[in-house]
């Protein structure tokens, strides 16, 4: 076991080195050995993928390495990230070497021979490296074709394929990080928040929170029988959002009203805080008597239209949420003095606007003006 772990360490180092100019010193024999190591480790992955203890030991070793390098969220992985990466460590190594212009002539020639020996080379048990690489090239082109010819961003973010994929990756990583230690996910998410483009990150979080509960992700080919539940990932995200008010404020500000309504419906723990934010935003507006509208006090305040939009969207949500929102609005209105006349309390005006909007909608749809719940 110990020798295996050492092997792992050495290979990780090797992988890191393979992208540096150090490879200029490599001769064909070195290349061959490197690929052999990779092949051996891939074989290990296949053999012990379902073997709980060994897999756990290997994973722990890799995570430790990771932690020393600053942990996930630090950027591109120099070495091996996790057990799953072991499954295609030979491809990873091959790609790095292939991309490395520092490779000498002899080493390069040998590399290419090793990677692409030609037809007729078959392995009964597993896919050859050549096949894996061909498959990667095929998939890459398929993605290229679809991305640049058949793709259009879906206005419903949670159905957009790029967004969904990112969300799936995030949930997967969260699961992994969570397994290592209890409080790691929160730190992980915080470090991501600091490093990654924030707007995109927020969208991905929202989409991740809307993923269907039991989806099987194709990235995982070997299930060691360890319990996998995507629901846990959502819980972690919700927890983190609730624990980071600055992030949550940005979350509620940046994302479209409809998306937020969906997220809040699905995760009721978020609704009090969301409503709280909306209330705060509302209180920052004041009534301009001359113009007859509610205006921002400071330029970065949320304008009336946006506030109205969000409340309108929330009022179209299914019952528990919708009722909560209306109750909140009524309460605020009451606290302000329970005015019915516009221009005095923003809550009165919002309720008026929401009701008339709903009435107009019913008229347009030809529905009877029966019982109004708004």
């Amino acid at each position: 076991m110990e020798s295996l772990l050492q092997h792992l360490d050495r290979f990780s180092e090797l992988l890191a080195v393979s992208s540096t100019t150090y490879v200029s010193t490599w001769d064909p024999a070195t290349v061959r050995r490197a690929l052999q190591w990779a092949r051996y480790l891939r074989h290990i992955h296949r053999r012990f993928g379902r073997h709980g203890p060994i897999r756990t030991a290997l994973e722990r070793r890799l995570h430790n390495q990771w932690r020393q390098e600053g942990g996930f969220g630090r950027g591109p992985v120099p070495g091996l990230a996790n057990f799953q990466a072991l499954g295609h460590c030979d491809v990873l190594l091959s790609l790095r070497l292939l991309e490395n212009r520092a490779l000498g002539d002899a080493a390069r020639y040998h590399l290419v021979q090793q990677l692409f020996p030609g037809p007729g080379v078959r392995d009964a048990d597993e896919e050859t490296l050549q096949e894996s690489l061909a498959r990667l090239a095929r998939r890459r082109s398929a993605v290229h074709m679809l991305r640049f010819n058949g793709y259009r961003e879906n206005p419903n973010l949670q159905e957009d394929s790029l967004m969904k994929t990112q969300a799936e990756l995030l949930l997967e990583r969260l699961q992994e990080v969570g397994k290592a230690e209890a409080e790691r996910p929160a730190r992980f998410l915080s470090s991501l928040w600091e490093r990654l483009p924030q707007n995109n990150f927020l969208k991905v979080i929202a989409v991740a929170l809307l993923q269907p509960p039991l989806s099987r992700r194709p990235q995982e080919e070997l299930e060691p029988g360890i319990h996998k539940s995507p629901g846990e990932g959502s819980q972690v995200l919700v927890h983190w959002l609730l624990g980071n008010s600055e992030v949550f404020a940005a979350f509620c500000r940046a994302l479209p009203a409809g998306l937020l309504t969906l997220v809040t419906s699905r995760h009721p723990a978020l609704s009090p805080v969301y409503l709280g934010l909306l209330t705060d935003w509302g209180q920052r507006l004041h009534y301009d008597l001359q113009k007859g509208i509610w205006v921002e006090t400071e330029s970065q305040d949320v304008p009336w239209e946006e506030l109205h939009n969000r409340f309108q969207s929330l009022c179209q949500a299914p019952p528990p949420l919708k009722d909560k929102v209306l109750t909140a609005l009524e309460t605020c209105k009451a606290q302000d003095g329970d005015f019915e006349v516009p221009g005095l309390s923003i809550w009165t005006d919002l309720l008026l606007a929401l009701r008339s909007g709903a009435f107009r909608k019913r008229q347009v749809l030809g529905l009877s003006a029966g019982l109004s719940s708004v």
Partner: protein
């Protein structure tokens, strides 16, 4: 050998030109053209590789000085790279160009360039920067997320195609995406939910406005591409399974049976048109039945002289009876499977009653059995025998009535009533009803009492629908088999029209 090399040079010129025109295949025209040629191009690449691997890299450059360009152009065309094994063969060809011992910097540079191209084929795509940063930030490489990304993209494309299909290609959204048949088959073979959705759409039609109009159902089935796709046994089995389930769930609804019959007919037509290489043994489509039975059933009545129909039906009856009565211990699905097979072939199944009515002679036992089986597959031997006796009696009366000069609705009802006591089960009631309807359509005086009889018969909405279905199916069948009887047809149409206004 020399001829091969001349051919190769010609091909080379041709493909060089093509590749230059296609460039990176960024327009619709270049994309379509690439797709049309992609298989041939792969063949060319194979031939190229066979030639190149025999030469050392210097010879290669001498022989094909622009080979580097050709290969590089191909590598910049994602449609070529994505196709089958083209990317592999391209890589092999590129490897043939690498100089084992570069003598000068020029050769060394060429090696480096080739490495670059190889790396490009495998490199990460330049996505939106944010996405790239995100995936990298999480520690993922493209090899990790390509499968998931592809799955999501294809799912989203598939659902868009489905929507387009349902909304009749809303061209406002984007240029029309129509998949060739082979692509549809590929999609259905790899993604079961797509196939299931296509079938569910068909079932939806059945309970909607298209209910009881087989002509429209036929159109819809043909448009759906399901019959051609079903030439592929795997798809046929899935479709058949869904039909089987629908039948079981609805307890043998006549609409479903009619749809299965229309579908099978379209399927057989498609099978005949399919190229020879797609022909599979009958057993792959109908694994639970004897080949001889399948072969007989698959014959189109149109291909058999009318005078021989009776004979064929008797033969079918014998084979089925053998299958049913010898399998009482539930092997191979038992009576249900035999019945399920039989009902596929509406041409024969719906003909039995007609044939019985038309023959003035003693009704053949085989046909009586077949009719009883068709309407009551679950009956035990005794019950079936009883039904056969009842049917024989009804037929006798009908024959007598057809010889009399005047008919009365009441008489007919009595004839049926003799069988329609309260202890007659639904299948037998249905059988008798259909016999009567057949009689009304064919008997010389039938039209005089038809409406009255039907009014007496149709005392529930369900039965009315059943009669409508029967009339529609009969007209459809006559039309297809070229059975000409203007009087009967006219009557059937009038009745159908009238009944339709009532529901």
């Amino acid at each position: 050998m020399a001829q091969d090399s001349v051919d190769l040079s010609c091909d080379y010129q041709f493909w060089m030109q093509k590749l230059s025109v296609w460039d990176q295949a960024s327009t619709l025209e270049t994309q379509q053209d690439t797709c049309l040629h992609v298989a041939q191009f792969q063949e060319f690449l194979r031939k190229m590789y066979e030639a190149l691997k025999e030469m050392d890299s210097n010879t290669v450059i001498e022989r094909f000085p622009t080979i580097g360009q050709l290969l590089a152009k191909a590598c910049w065309n994602p449609f070529i790279l994505a196709y089958d094994e083209s990317q592999k063969i391209l890589i092999w060809c590129l490897c043939c160009l690498i100089n084992k011992e570069p003598q000068n910097s020029g050769q060394s540079k060429l090696n480096s360039w080739i490495q670059g191209v190889l790396s490009h084929i495998l490199s990460a795509l330049r996505f939106d920067k944010e996405v790239a940063l995100f995936t990298q930030g999480l520690g993922y490489a493209p090899i990790d997320y390509y499968p998931g990304l592809l799955k999501n993209m294809v799912l989203s494309l598939a659902s868009e195609l489905r929507e387009n299909h349902l909304n009749g290609f809303n061209t406002q959204r984007r240029k029309k995406i129509s998949l060739p048949m082979s692509a549809v088959v590929c999609l259905w073979l790899r993604h079961l939910p797509s196939l299931e959705k296509a079938m569910l759409h068909l079932f939806e039609k059945l309970i909607s406005s298209e209910r009881n109009c087989l002509r429209r159902i036929e159109c819809f089935i043909k448009d759906s591409s399901l019959p051609q796709a079903a030439c592929h046994p795997a798809i046929f089995r899935v479709v058949d399974e869904m039909f089987r389930c629908a039948l079981l769930e609805t307890d043998g609804a006549l609409e479903i049976i009619a749809t299965i019959q229309v579908f099978t007919q379209c399927f057989v037509e498609a099978l005949e048109k399919a190229s020879k290489q797609l022909r599979f043994a009958l057993k792959t489509y109908f694994p639970y039945t004897s080949p001889s039975l399948a072969m007989v059933l698959l014959q189109d009545p149109q291909d058999i002289p009318r005078g021989h129909w009776l004979q064929t039906l008797k033969h079918i009856s014998e084979l089925l009876r053998e299958a049913v009565e010898d399998q009482t211990h539930g092997s191979c699905g038992g009576p249900f499977e035999s019945w399920f097979l039989f009902i596929h072939f509406g041409g024969w199944a719906e003909m039995v009653a007609e044939q019985l009515l038309m023959s003035a002679a003693e009704p053949p036992t085989a046909l009586l059995w077949l009719l009883a089986f068709y309407y009551g597959p679950r009956d035990g031997r005794q019950q079936r025998a009883q039904t056969m006796v009842q049917v024989k009696a009804v037929l006798g009366h009908l024959l007598a009535m057809s010889r009399s000069s005047s008919l009365s609705a009441q008489d007919l009802q009595t004839v049926a009533g003799q069988g329609t006591d309260t202890d007659l089960r639904a299948p037998a009631q249905q059988l008798i009803r259909h016999l009567l309807l057949n009689f009304l359509l064919w008997a010389p005086g039938g039209h005089t009492i038809a409406w009255d009889v039907i009014t007496l018969m149709a005392h529930t909405a369900e039965i009315t629908h059943e009669i409508i279905g029967f009339l529609d199916q009969t007209l459809y069948r006559w039309n297809r088999l070229g059975i000409e009887s203007p009087r009967s047809e006219k009557l059937a149409r009038e009745l159908l029209k009238e009944l339709r206004t009532q529901v």
